[in-house]
C-alpha cells in the first residue's frame, strides 16, 4: 500500500467556523480519513510545531490554512507550512481576504484592546487587567511554575497571501461542505485550475444560481436602501430589487444561495470574482448605480446613503485587508506595541 498523501490543517485568526465546516462533511469525513494522512491539526490533534519542523520540505501534499494573520506566530507557522507543503490552500474568507476580523484594520491595537478588555458590555474586568507580554503561571498544587509569553501582535490583520505564496482559495465564511468537497475532489483528481484561483465554487456571481434572479425587474432601480434589521423582505422577490443591500451580484456563487433561501440578503462571504480589482469598490459602485436618483433632491440621495450606518462593514465585511485601501492610516503607532511589546 502506497503512503497516503499528507494533509496539514492550521488555524490563524479563526473563529472556529471553518473547523466546524470540516466536521459538517459528516459521513464524507470518513472518506477524508481514508484518503489522507493528517499530520498537523491543532484544533483536534496533539501535534506540535516541532512535529512539522521535523518533516522534510515539500512532504505535505496539501496544507489548508484558515483565519487571517494577526500575530507573529501565525506568520511564522504559515511560512513553515509553506516550506513543508506542495500545495497551500487559503481556506475560508479570513485567510483568503481577511474576513470579519479584518474589519479591525479600522482601529489600532490600543483601541482594539480597550474595546475587547474593558468596553464590551459582556466583559467583567473590574481590575482592568490588560494583556502583557509575559505572564508567570504559578500553580503550586500542580507543581507548575512557568513563564508564558504572548506572541507579538501585528499592527494590521493580513490575508495569508500577503505573507506567503498561496496556490488555491476555498471561499466562504465558512465554506459550505459541498464547496469543500468539490475542492477536495479537484485536489484528488488533479483536475486543478491555474494557480492562484478559487476552487470548489462558481466562476459567475451568486445571481447566476439564485432562484430569485428571475424575479428582477427589467430595470433594477430602487428608491431607498433597506436593512433586514429594520424591514422584513417580501419572500420570492429579488432582495436587491426590494432595496435590501444584497451582495449577490458582486459575490462569487457556489453556496447555492443559502442565505437568500432563508430570505436574507447575501453578505458576500464567497468574496471577489476573478478579474474584479476591489470587492467593496465594485459593490459601492453598483449600489450607487441602482439608486433611482433622478427624481431625488440631493438631500434625499444623501439620506438614502446615510440610512446604512456602516458602509465599510457592509461592503468589506469579509475583505477589508485585501482591499486597495486595506486599513486605516497610522496603525503602526500604538501604545501597546511600543510599551508592552517594545517594538
Amino acid at each position: 500500500m502506497s503512503e497516503k498523501p499528507k494533509v496539514a490543517w492550521y488555524w490563524c485568526a479563526s473563529c472556529g467556523g471553518c473547523e466546524e465546516s470540516f466536521v459538517d462533511l459528516a459521513e464524507r469525513l470518513l472518506k477524508v480519513f481514508e484518503t489522507f494522512d493528517i499530520v498537523f491539526c491543532p484544533v483536534a490533534m496533539d501535534f506540535k510545531r516541532e512535529d512539522v519542523e521535523k518533516l522534510p520540505d515539500g512532504s505535505i501534499a496539501v496544507s489548508l490554512i484558515n483565519g487571517g494573520i494577526r500575530m507573529k506566530e501565525h506568520e511564522e507557522m504559515v511560512k513553515l507550512l509553506r516550506k513543508k507543503s506542495n500545495i497551500v490552500i487559503a481556506y475560508g474568507a479570513c485567510s483568503a481576504w481577511g474576513g470579519v476580523p479584518g474589519l479591525a484594520n479600522l482601529y489600532n491595537l490600543d483601541e482594539i484592546v480597550e474595546r475587547k478588555y474593558l468596553e464590551i458590555p459582556t466583559i467583567e474586568n473590574p481590575k482592568e487587567i490588560l494583556p502583557t507580554k509575559k505572564t508567570i503561571v504559578n500553580i503550586p498544587e500542580a507543581k507548575i511554575k512557568a513563564e508564558l509569553e504572548l506572541p507579538e501582535p501585528l499592527p494590521t490583520l493580513l490575508p495569508i497571501d500577503k505573507v506567503i505564496d498561496v496556490d488555491y482559495y476555498i471561499p466562504g465564511c465558512p465554506p459550505t461542505p459541498d464547496v469543500f468537497w468539490n475542492a477536495l475532489q479537484a485536489l484528488l483528481t488533479g483536475n486543478l485550475p491555474p494557480k492562484g484561483t478559487v476552487i470548489g465554487a462558481l466562476q459567475r456571481s451568486l445571481c447566476d444560481e439564485c432562484l430569485l434572479n428571475e424575479t428582477k425587474p427589467e430595470k433594477l432601480l430602487v428608491k431607498e436602501f433597506k436593512r433586514v434589521e429594520k424591514a422584513i423582505p417580501e419572500p420570492n422577490k429579488c432582495l436587491l430589487a426590494q432595496g435590501f443591500l444584497c451582495m449577490g451580484p458582486v459575490t462569487r456563487g457556489g453556496c447555492t444561495a443559502l442565505c437568500i433561501k432563508a430570505n436574507m440578503p447575501c453578505t458576500g462571504c464567497f468574496g471577489i470574482l476573478d478579474g474584479v480589482v476591489d470587492y467593496g469598490g465594485k459593490a459601492i459602485s453598483y449600489f450607487g448605480s441602482i439608486l433611482d436618483y433622478s427624481p431625488m433632491e440631493e438631500k434625499e440621495i444623501k439620506k438614502a446613503f446615510e440610512s446604512i450606518p456602516d458602509w465599510i462593514g457592509t461592503i468589506y465585511r469579509y475583505s477589508l485587508p485585501s482591499a486597495k485601501l486595506s486599513h486605516r492610516a497610522g496603525l503602526k503607532r500604538s501604545k501597546l506595541m511600543k510599551e508592552v511589546f517594545e517594538i
Binding site: S205, C207, N213, K219, V276, A283, S285, Y286
Partner: protein, 649 residues
C-alpha cells in the same frame, strides 16, 4: 497577440508643445520604457511627412502598437488611425497621449511641464501594451426620416430631406404646421415669417415624399441609429378633408376658450381654424375641450365631421430623427411689470398678433379700445436675470422683434410716442441697421441697469418709473400701453420629449447638442439631430439654417443605407455574466437587455445602440462587462503608471 513592439512619436506642434515641453527629453524618456522599440520626434506629426515617419517605422521595425504624444484625440486620433491602417496595422492599436491640451497649453514652467508630459507618455505606453485590434461593424439602415415638430425649423428640414429624395414623416402636435413663425415676427422689415411659412407650406403640398401628421405625438422610440421604431399617436381631429372652411360649425359650437393662436387676445370655439393659412387647411376640433354635443356634426353640409373618430397609433420605421419641437414663450407671473393687472399691459407676442392683418383688430394698433398715444416696450422680460423668475440667458430675438414693431408703429402711427426700455440692445449682425433706423424714426431708447423699471397702475393711468442709466436720473413716463418683450423658455413638455427620445438636457433646460463645435446639431444619441429653438433661443433665420443643417447631417447618414458601428463599445463576457441586470438599469441608451443563453440569464448589448459611455462597465459588479478600448486591464495599467507603478502588468 505577439509581444508588444511600441513606437512612440512625440509632436512639437510647432511651438504649441515644444515651446513648453522639452520634446527631446520626452523622447529619451520614452525610449527607456518597456516594450518601446522606437521613439521619435517631429515638428508636426499630423503632417504628411510626420505620418510617413510612423508608417515607415511600422514596416521597418515591425511595430505593433503606436503611441502618438500630441494633441487631443478628438482632433487627430482619426488622422493617425488612418495612417497606421495604411501601414497595415489595425487602426485601434493606437493610443494618443495628449501633451498639448492636457499639458503644454495649461502650464508655463518648462521643467515641470516636461515631467508631466513624460508621465502622460508613460501612461499611454502602459495602456498601449494591452491594446487589442478591434473591428468596425456594419448594419443596414432605413432611408426615411422622422421630423418632430412642424415649426419653421422642422418644415425646413423636411423640405431639404424630401428635395433630395428621402421620405419624411413630419409630426406636429397641434392641428396645423407652421409653428410660431407663422404667427409672429419679421425676418426682415419687408418679410413676415408667416409669408415665408406659407411659401414653405405650398412646397410641402406639392411634395409627395413628405407625409404631414398633425395632432400627432411621438410616444415611443425604440431601435437604434438607422433602424428606429417610432410609435406615433394621432389624436382625433374629428374633421376630415371634405371640410370647405365654410365656418358654419364654428357658429353653432357652444364651447369657447382663449385662442392660443392669438396668444389669448381673442377667444375661439372648440371647433376652429388655427389661422388663415393653416395646414392641413381644415377645421379642427380641440379634443381636450370638445363636449361632443354634436351641433357641428348636424350643421355640416359636407359630412366633414365625425365625432366618433378615435386616436390612432401609427408605427413607423425610420433611419433618423430630427427633433425640432421649438420653445414656449416666457410666461410672466401675475404682477410682473403689472402683467395681468391691467388690460393695456400685453406681451410682445400679443402685440405681434395684434399688428397682423389676421388679428381681431384687423392689424390696427388698438389697445384698450383706442390707439395708444404713448406705448412702451420693456425688454428682457424673463431673460437676463431681470426678475426673480427670469432666466440667465438672452433670448436673442426679442430686441430685434421689439424694434421691428416699434418701427412699424412709428410708420403707421407717427403721432404715437414709442419708448423702448432696455438693458442692452442685442440687435446683432445686420439687425443693427434696424436699431439705427428706429433711432432715426425717433423711437425713445431708455437704458436701465440692475434696477429694473417699475410699472405703476394709478387712477390717472399707467406710468413707468425708471432710473435712466445714461443720464443717471429717475424718470417717470406716462404710457397708455406697455409691451413686455418676453423671452423664450424650453417647451413645457420637454421632460416627456427627453424620456421618449433620450436626448439630453442642457444647462438652461433646453436640449443639449453633443458638442457645439465638434458635433453641432447632433444629439448625443447617434442618428438624432436637433433643429430650431429646442436647443436654445434663436431667431427665425437661425432656426431655418439649423433645420437645413440637421437635414444635411441626417442625409449624410441616410444616403449610405447602412450604419458603421464604432467598435469601442461595451462587451459582455458571457462566461462571467450572472445576469444580475445592474447594467440594464444604468444604461442611458437602453442598449442592454437580459437574454437567456443556454438556460442562463446573460446581459446582451445591442451593439448599434451602445454609445460607448462606459457606465455599465463601471457598474458591473462582476467584471463581466468590459468596455472595448477601455478594459479594466488597460485602465489599471494606465492608473498604475500614473502613480509611478510598474508599467508591466
Amino acid at each position: 497577440m505577439s509581444e508588444p513592439r511600441i513606437g512612440v512619436y512625440v509632436c512639437h506642434c510647432g511651438f504649441n508643445i515644444a515651446g513648453t515641453v522639452d520634446v527631446k527629453k520626452v523622447v529619451e524618456f520614452a525610449k527607456n520604457l518597456p516594450n518601446v522599440v522606437v521613439a521619435k520626434e517631429y515638428v508636426f506629426m499630423c503632417s504628411e511627412p510626420g505620418q510617413d515617419l510612423i508608417k515607415e517605422d511600422i514596416k521597418a521595425n515591425n511595430l505593433n502598437r503606436i503611441v502618438v504624444a500630441a494633441c487631443s484625440p478628438s482632433l487627430h486620433e482619426v488622422t493617425f488611425r488612418t495612417a497606421i491602417k495604411e501601414a497595415g496595422l489595425n487602426k485601434y492599436l493606437l493610443e494618443m497621449a495628449n501633451i498639448r491640451e492636457h499639458c503644454s497649453w495649461v502650464h508655463h514652467d518648462k521643467e515641470k511641464a516636461t515631467e508631466k508630459a513624460k508621465e502622460i507618455v508613460r501612461m499611454a505606453v502602459a495602456k498601449a501594451r494591452y491594446l487589442e485590434p478591434l473591428e468596425e461593424l456594419e448594419v443596414g439602415a432605413e432611408t426615411s426620416a422622422l421630423v418632430l415638430g412642424g415649426g419653421i425649423a422642422g418644415i425646413r428640414a423636411a423640405l431639404e430631406l424630401a428635395n433630395y429624395g428621402f421620405h419624411v414623416y413630419l409630426v406636429e402636435k397641434s392641428p396645423t404646421i407652421g409653428g410660431k413663425a407663422a404667427l409672429i415676427g419679421y425676418i426682415d422689415p419687408q418679410t413676415k415669417g408667416a409669408e415665408v411659412v406659407s411659401k414653405m407650406i405650398d412646397k410641402i403640398k406639392e411634395c409627395p415624399r413628405i407625409q404631414v401628421l398633425t395632432n400627432a405625438e411621438l410616444i415611443q422610440l425604440g431601435g437604434f441609429v438607422g433602424n428606429y421604431n417610432a410609435k406615433i399617436r394621432i389624436n382625433p381631429r374629428f374633421v376630415n378633408e371634405r371640410c370647405t372652411l365654410c365656418g358654419e360649425c364654428e357658429e353653432v359650437c357652444p364651447v369657447e376658450v382663449a385662442n392660443e393662436y392669438n396668444f389669448g387676445l381673442s377667444r375661439r370655439k372648440a371647433i376652429f381654424l388655427p389661422f388663415a393659412n393653416a395646414y392641413p387647411p381644415y377645421y379642427a376640433i380641440d379634443y381636450r375641450v370638445c363636449v361632443k354635443c354634436g351641433e357641428c356634426e348636424k350643421v355640416c353640409r359636407f359630412r366633414a365631421i365625425n365625432l366618433k373618430e378615435e386616436a390612432k397609433i401609427l408605427e413607423l420605421k425610420v433611419g433618423t430623427l430630427i427633433v425640432a419641437t421649438g420653445y414656449d414663450p416666457y410666461r410672466p407671473f401675475k404682477g410682473e411689470y403689472g402683467y395681468g393687472l391691467h388690460p393695456n399691459i400685453l406681451t410682445l407676442f400679443q402685440l405681434e398678433r395684434l399688428l397682423d392683418p389676421d388679428s381681431p383688430t384687423k392689424g390696427e394698433l388698438i389697445i384698450g379700445g383706442k390707439i395708444p398715444k404713448n406705448i412702451a416696450f420693456i425688454q428682457c422680460v424673463g431673460s437676463r436675470n431681470t426678475t426673480p423668475g427670469a432666466k440667465e440667458y438672452c433670448s436673442r430675438m426679442c430686441c430685434t422683434t421689439a424694434i421691428n414693431s416699434a418701427i412699424k408703429i412709428k410708420e403707421r402711427y407717427p403721432n404715437t410716442n414709442v419708448y423702448i426700455l432696455y438693458k442692452d440692445i442685442m440687435t446683432y449682425g445686420s439687425d443693427e441697421t434696424l436699431y439705427e433706423e428706429a433711432g432715426k424714426k425717433l423711437v425713445n431708447f431708455i437704458k436701465f441697469e440692475e434696477k429694473i423699471p417699475k410699472v405703476l397702475i394709478t387712477p390717472e393711468g399707467l406710468f413707468i418709473e425708471v432710473f435712466e442709466y445714461t443720464i443717471q436720473e429717475n424718470i417717470r413716463i406716462p404710457v397708455d400701453a406697455i409691451v413686455l418683450s418676453i423671452g423664450m423658455l424650453p417647451p413645457r413638455d420637454i421632460e416627456e420629449l427627453i424620456a421618449v427620445t433620450r436626448v439630453s438636457c442642457g444647462g438652461e433646460g433646453f436640449v443639449r447638442e453633443a458638442h457645439l463645435k465638434l458635433a453641432p446639431v447632433e444629439a448625443p444619441t447617434k442618428g438624432i439631430f436637433l433643429a430650431g429653438c429646442i436647443t436654445g433661443p434663436k431667431n427665425i433665420l437661425e432656426s431655418i439654417r439649423m433645420g437645413s443643417a440637421a437635414a444635411a447631417k441626417a442625409m449624410a447618414l441616410l444616403s449610405k443605407g447602412k450604419i458603421t458601428i464604432e467598435p469601442m463599445i461595451a462587451q459582455v463576457n458571457e462566461e462571467k455574466c450572472s445576469g444580475c441586470a445592474i447594467c440594464v438599469g444604468v444604461c442611458p441608451y437602453s442598449a442592454i437587455s437580459i437574454k437567456t443563453v443556454n438556460g442562463d440569464r446573460i446581459a446582451h448589448v445591442e451593439k448599434a445602440l451602445c454609445m460607448g459611455c462606459g457606465t455599465c462597465s463601471a457598474a458591473c459588479p462582476s467584471g463581466a462587462m468590459q468596455h472595448l478600448g477601455f478594459k479594466d486591464l488597460q485602465l489599471l495599467a494606465q492608473t498604475r503608471a500614473v502613480f509611478g507603478g510598474e508599467v508591466h502588468g
